[in-house]
Symmetry: C2
Subunit: 424 residues, 2 copies
C-alpha cells in the first residue's frame, strides 16, 4: 500500500500501515484529534467535515468526537469503528481519485508535524502499572531479597500490578523536577529529607483501554483483546531511595507519582497485528480465566531503545535495547486480570506493562538494573561520562518500532528531562 | 443560630451549622449541586438564579458552577468562596426578611430529602488511601507479622498510603457484587479461583481536595489545610484473601478495587472547625515538612459507628464505635506528604484516612480485627447470628457525627449491600 497524498520515507515511523492517533494543536489553537502520516498530521475534524467518515456505523458524530482535546470519546466506540476509520484513511491517502480528495484543501487537512504541539492522548481516569517482565522482577528481587526469594510466589500465577497516579502522567517533552522526599540511606539512623539521589527511568509500554466494562462485569481474554485501543511508549520515572523507604507494606507511592511520561502517538492494535509473536511459555499453566484458548499469539515483536543525553554532552548514548516480546504476561492477560474482580475499566484508562527487561545485561530497562543498584558505573560511549542513576538536566529518550518488509511501524519518541529539585 | 426557613430537629444530621454539599437529582432530572438542611435539600442553581451568590468574588458563574452534576468546579474555587457561600446560605436560612426570601418560591428552591436521588459528589480524578491509624496498622501487623514487627519502620515517620482505584468509587446505596479472584488458602498448594470468602469492610473517612497544586509544586501544611474542601464517610471494602495473595510486593490491588463506597454529603471543614482536637502525640517528632507550627490542632472529634444488617435479620447490629480523633496522622499531614514529591492534586481528588480503629476491641474498624483474622465469632446482638466476615446480602452502614451544644454535625450514612458473586 502506497501513500500518494504525502510522500513518506521508508524510514518514517508513520507510514500508511501505521496511522497512529494523537491529540495536537497548531499555533495555540484548540487541540483536536489527528493522525500521523510521514512527517505530517491529518486533521480529523477537517476530514469529518468533508464527509470522509459519514458512512461509518456508530460514528454519526465524527466531527464532535474528533474535535475533542482527548481521544476518550473515540476510544469508547470500539474496534469496528476504529477499523472503519483506519480503512477510510488508508483509502483517502492511497487513492488519487478518492472523492474526498477532490474537495480536500491539502493545507487544511494536513499540517506539518514539525509545527504542531502534542498533548496527552486521553483524559486518563485511572492509571495502572503492571510488573509483567520476568527478567525485571527477577533482577529487582535478587537485589532486594536475594537469589532464592527473587520472584514472589504469586508472580507466576497472576500479572502483579498496582494502581498508579493518573494526575501526573505527562506527554513526552514535559520536563519534571527531581522529587524531594524521605529516604533512609543509613538503616541505623532516622530517615532524612531532601532530593532523591537515586533517580531512575523505567522502560515501559502502556495501552489505552477502549470501551471498558461495567462495574461488576469482568472481561474474558477475548473481550479484553477487543478492548485495547492502542499502545504508547512510557517512562515510569522512579525515585529508588524514596520508593525503598516508603513502599512497605502498601506498595509504590511518592517514589513514582512525581511523574510518568508517555509518547503522544497511540499506535493501534490493528497496526500491530502483523507483529504478533508467541509470548514466553507460561509455567505453571495459568488459571483458566487467564489461559483461554485464543487462536492468536499474545506477544508483540516491538524493538525498544533507551538513550540518555547526559548534561555534560550534546549527544544521546544508548542505555538499553529491549523488546516487548520478552513480557511474560500478555496485554490481554493484564486487562482480563484487572477486571476479574469486577473492577470497571473506562475509555482512556492507561495500563503500563512494567519495566521491559530482556535476558541480557544490555537489555535491562532501568538504571537500577544496569548499575546493579548503584554498585557499578554505566559508561556512556567514548566520552568517559558515567552514570549510576540520572543526574540533573539529563534527558532520557525511549523509542520503539516494529520492522515490516520495507516499512516500519514506529512509536515516535518518549522524551523527558529531569530538572533540579525545588528547594523546600 | 436558628433556621427559620425549614424546621430542623435537634437530632438532625443537617442543622444550619452543618450545610453539607452534595449532588442530587429529582425524578430523573439532571443532577446538580444541593445543600442539605434538616430533611430538605436546597437547590443551589435555583438560589443562584435568585441572586443569592451574586456578590461573591470569584463566583461570577455561580449558576453554571452549581448546575454541574459534580462539585469539582466549586471545589476548585477555594476556601474564601466556600466560606462566602456558606455565609449567604446561613443568612438566607435564618433571616425571615432576607431579600432573596421575598422572591423565593419555596417549592423551587427546596426539595424533600426523601424524594431525591444522591450521586457521587465529584468526578474523582485520583483516589488515594492512607493507613494513618496506629491501632489499625498495629493490629494488622500483629496478625500478619507478629508482635515484634507489627509496625513497619517507616510508619511513624510518614503517613503510609497507596494509590487506589477511582473508577469504582460509588455513592452510598450502590450494591456491589462479591469479587471473584485468586486466593491461596493452602500455602502448600497452588492458588484457587473463585469468590472471596473473607470479605470485609473498612471504617474510614475521606476528604475531597480543593484547588490542589501544580505538578512540581509541593504544598506546605498551611496550604494543605486550606486545600481540603470537606469530609465524607467511606467504606473501603476489602477482600482479605485476594489481598493477602496479591499484595506483595506492590500493595493492594484487586482485593480493594472492586468497590469503595462514600456517603453523598460532603461536610465542610468550616462546619467541623468547632470540633478540632489535638491529634495523638507524635513520637518521633516528624520531619519539618510534616511538623510545621500550626496554631490549630490537627485532629477532629467525630464519633463513628458501623452497623451490620445480616441477611438473616431485618435489624442493624452495632459492630464498631470509633472516632476520627484516634488518627495518628492528621488530614493536613496526609495531604502535604502526598504533594511533597511534586505530585499534583486536583479538585475533586479523594483521600481516605485508612481504617479508623481505636484502642479498645469494640472500636476496631474491620471484621479482620474484630474476628482477629477469622479466629473468633463476632456475635450480633441477642439473635445468635454470628459473623467472621461479611456474608452475601449483608448490609454494612457507617454513620458519624460531631456533638455540639444542642445540635449535631452529622454525615448522613454510607451504606452498601454485598450481592452474591457473579458466576465466571
Ligand atoms: Ca513501573
Ligand atoms: Ca483502607
Ligand atoms: Mg512514574
Ligand atoms: Mg475499596
Ligand atoms: Ni508539508
Amino acid at each position: 500500500m502506497e501513500c500518494t497524498f504525502v510522500s513518506v520515507s521508508p524510514l518514517s515511523d508513520f507510514p500508511i500501515q501505521n496511522l497512529p492517533f494523537g491529540v495536537y494543536s497548531v499555533n495555540g489553537e484548540s487541540a483536536r484529534v489527528g493522525v500521523a502520516i510521514g512527517d505530517h498530521v491529518l486533521d480529523l475534524p477537517a476530514l469529518s467535515e468533508l464527509g470522509l467518515f459519514a458512512q461509518i456505523d456508530g460514528l454519526e458524530n465524527s466531527h464532535s468526537v474528533f474535535s475533542k482535546p482527548y481521544l476518550n470519546d473515540f476510544m469508547a466506540l470500539g474496534r469496528p469503528v476504529w477499523r472503519a476509520v483506519r480503512k477510510q484513511l488508508q483509502e483517502f491517502l492511497s487513492n488519487d481519485s478518492h472523492p474526498v480528495r477532490q474537495q480536500a484543501d491539502k493545507s487544511l487537512v494536513c499540517v506539518e508535524l514539525s509545527k504542531v504541539a502534542m498533548h496527552l492522548p486521553a483524559k486518563i481516569g485511572d492509571y495502572t502499572d503492571f510488573y509483567a517482565s520476568r527478567e525485571h522482577a527477577t533482577n529487582v528481587g535478587v537485589m532486594f531479597r536475594g537469589k532464592d526469594n527473587a520472584l514472589m510466589p504469586n508472580w507466576t500465577h497472576l500479572p502483579v500490578g498496582y494502581h498508579g497516579r493518573a494526575s501526573s502522567v505527562v506527554v513526552s517533552g514535559t520536563p519534571l523536577h527531581r522529587p524531594n522526599g524521605q529516604r533512609r540511606p543509613d538503616a541505623s539512623k532516622p530517615p532524612v529529607f531532601g532530593p532523591s539521589v537515586r533517580l531512575d527511568y523505567e522502560l515501559e509500554m502502556a495501552f489505552f483501554v477502549g470501551p471498558g466494562n461495567a462495574l461488576g462485569e469482568p472481561m474474558s481474554l477475548e473481550q479484553a483483546e477487543d478492548c485495547i485501543f492502542g499502545v504508547v511508549l512510557m517512562n515510569d520515572w522512579s525515585a529508588r531511595d524514596i520508593q525503598a523507604w516508603e513502599y512497605v507494606p502498601l506498595g509504590p507511592f511518592l517514589g513514582k507519582s512525581f511523574g510518568t511520561t508517555v509518547s503522544p502517538w497511540v499506535v493501534t492494535m490493528d497496526a500491530l497485528e502483523p507483529f504478533r509473536v508467541a509470548q514466553p511459555p507460561q509455567d505453571p499453566q495459568p488459571l483458566p480465566y487467564l489461559a483461554g484458548s485464543s487462536a492468536t499469539p499474545g506477544g508483540y515483536d516491538i524493538s525498544l531503545e533507551v538513550h540518555i543525553k547526559p548534561h555534560e554532552d550534546t549527544e544521546y548514548h544508548l542505555l538499553t535495547k529491549s523488546n516487548l516480546k520478552y513480557m511474560y504476561w500478555a496485554l490481554r492477560q493484564q486487562l482480563t486480570h484487572h477486571s476479574i474482580s469486577g473492577c470497571n475499566m473506562r475509555p482512556g484508562d492507561l495500563c503500563g506493562t512494567g519495566t521491559i527487561s530482556g535476558p541480557t545485561e544490555d537489555s535491562f530497562g532501568s538504571m537500577l538494573e544496569l548499575s546493579w543498584s548503584g554498585q557499578k558505573d554505566v559508561v556512556l560511549g567514548a566520552s568517559g561520562v558515567t552514570r549510576k542513576f540520572i543526574d540533573d538536566n539529563d534527558v532520557i529518550r525511549i523509542t520503539g518500532h516494529c520492522q515490516g518488509n520495507g516499512f516500519r511501524i514506529g512509536f515516535g519518541e518518549c522524551v523527558g528531562q529531569i530538572l533540579p529539585a525545588k528547594h523546600i
